[in-house]
């Protein structure tokens, strides 16, 4: 039963778990003694899930606040970081968009495996030239 509770505690951020995990386990053991294992486990699920979410949100809020304060202290560096990140994200998006359309997606008509390339031209002289629309002859 304690293993199940420890698994549930993984929903909390590691820092919170490190600080209060042992005590939470101790309180759960008391709860098992008071209410019985099934009722204690049900109560633990109803307790840990929303509280872990709230703790995660609180830590996220702290991190965002800390980040904004740090950006406020050195705005030049912050603007550079944002621009470089935006450039990186933009370049990646463009590369993968092109790769998706050119390499991954099937051709936009049915039975693309049956597509053939027709070529015609003089056998002698300049070799074969393609006369169809996909690759017009030069």
């Amino acid at each position: 039963m304690l293993g199940f509770y420890r698994f549930l505690l993984r929903l909390y951020p590691a820092s919170f778990r490190g600080e209060y995990g042992a005590e939470l386990e101790h309180t759960f053991e008391q709860s098992v003694r008071d209410r019985g294992p099934l009722a204690a486990a049900a109560a633990a699920v109803a307790d840990v899930v929303p509280n872990a979410l709230l703790v995660q949100l609180r830590i996220l809020r702290q991190d965002v606040r800390y980040g904004l304060r740090a950006m406020g202290r050195s705005p030049g560096f912050a603007v550079t970081v944002v621009l470089v990140t935006a450039l990186g994200v933009g370049a990646n998006t463009a590369t993968f968009s092109v790769a998706d359309f050119v390499l991954l997606r099937p051709l936009p008509f049915s039975d693309p495996n049956a597509v053939v390339r027709l070529c015609e031209g003089p056998k002698e002289g300049g070799g074969w030239g393609c006369m169809n629309e996909l690759s017009p002859a030069a």
């Binding site: 309180t27 872990a52 703790v55 609180r58």
Partner: protein, 119 residues
């Protein structure tokens, strides 16, 4: 003596759980489960904090400086995982400020003729 009045006012109104936790540790340091039991006993079972709510509140209250962990353990042979928390002077100031706020509110309600039905 440090004057915490301004800082204390900034934390008001206190969440109900926070006020109850401050009351539970105002007389003596207590560990988490003892705080839960004390609150349940003082409210005749109408408020029973879950462990998650308790430790989430304790984490915030320690950050705000309302509580502090104490290394003094009341009994030998106590479970080592238990951690004891005591109220800080700032915590006492905040609890007093909240009590003042609630007293004023009660006075206003009484002046308006509002009394509990069971009174």
């Amino acid at each position: 003596m440090t004057n915490y009045a301004g800082e204390a006012q900034a934390l008001l109104p206190l969440p109900s759980a926070t006020f109850h936790i401050l009351l539970a540790v105002s007389a003596e340091p207590r560990h988490g489960y003892a705080i839960i039991q004390d609150i349940a006993a003082r409210t005749a079972g109408s408020l029973r904090l879950s462990a998650g709510t308790l430790y989430r509140s304790i984490a915030r209250m320690v950050e705000q400086g309302l509580l502090t962990e104490t290394s003094k353990r009341p009994a030998l042979g106590d479970d080592e995982r238990r951690r004891y928390y005591r109220i800080t002077p700032f915590g006492t100031a905040v609890a007093r400020a909240e009590m003042g706020r609630l007293t004023s509110l009660l006075r206003l309600a009484r002046a308006s003729g509002l009394t509990p039905e069971s009174a």
